[in-house]
Amino acid sequence: MTGEVLALLGATLTLLAAVGVVRFPEVMARMHALTKASTLGVVLVLVGGAVTLNHPNDVTSLLLAAALQVLTMPVGANLLSRATYRAEQEGAAE
C-alpha cells in the first residue's frame, strides 16, 4: 500500500515534468522542469517498487537504480546545460 502511494506520487511528478517540458517557453526552463521534477519522480517510483517487492534481488536492484539516478541526473543536466549555453554564446558572438 505504501509502495503504491509512492509510485502514484512519482508518476504524478513525472507528469508534471512533462507538462513543464511541453509548456515552458525556453530551453533552460524546460531542462529545469525535467531534471528536478523527474529525478524525484522516478526515485519515488523506484523506492515504491523496492517497498512493494519481496525478493532481495529486486529490492537491491531498484535501490541501485534509484541511487544511480540521483547521482547521474544532475551531472548530466549540468553537462547538457553548459554545452547549450556555450553554443548559444558562440552563436551570439559570430
Binding site: E4, V5, G10, V42, V45, G48, G49, A65, L79, A87
Partner: protein
C-alpha cells in the same frame, strides 16, 4: 492505484514525445529522450509491482546508466558543433 500511475505515465510520455518531435533545438530532443527513458524505467518498476515478478528490474538499472552516457555524449557533441 497502479493503473492510475500507468495512465499518468502514458500522458507524460505523450508530452515528452511531443518535445522530442517538435523541439526546436537539439537540446530539446535530448530532453524528450531523457524523459521517455524515465517513463520507461517507471513503467518497468510499475509492471514489476503489479505482477510481483521482478525479472525485468535490472533493465531499469541499465536504462539509468545508458541514459546518463547518452546525455553526456550528446552534450559533448553540442559543445563541439557550436550550435
Amino acid at each position: 492505484m497502479i493503473t492510475a500511475a500507468f495512465v499518468l505515465l502514458a500522458l507524460a510520455a505523450l508530452g515528452f514525445g511531443y518535445r522530442l518531435l517538435a523541439g526546436p533545438t537539439l537540446t530539446d530532443r535530448v530532453l524528450g529522450v531523457d524523459g521517455l527513458l524515465i517513463v520507461g524505467m517507471s513503467a518497468i518498476t510499475l509492471q514489476a509491482m503489479r505482477t510481483g515478478e521482478g525479472a525485468f528490474v535490472p533493465v531499469a538499472v541499465v536504462a539509468a546508466l545508458v541514459g546518463f552516457v547518452g546525455t553526456g555524449v550528446v552534450a559533448r557533441f553540442i559543445e563541439g558543433q557550436g550550435q
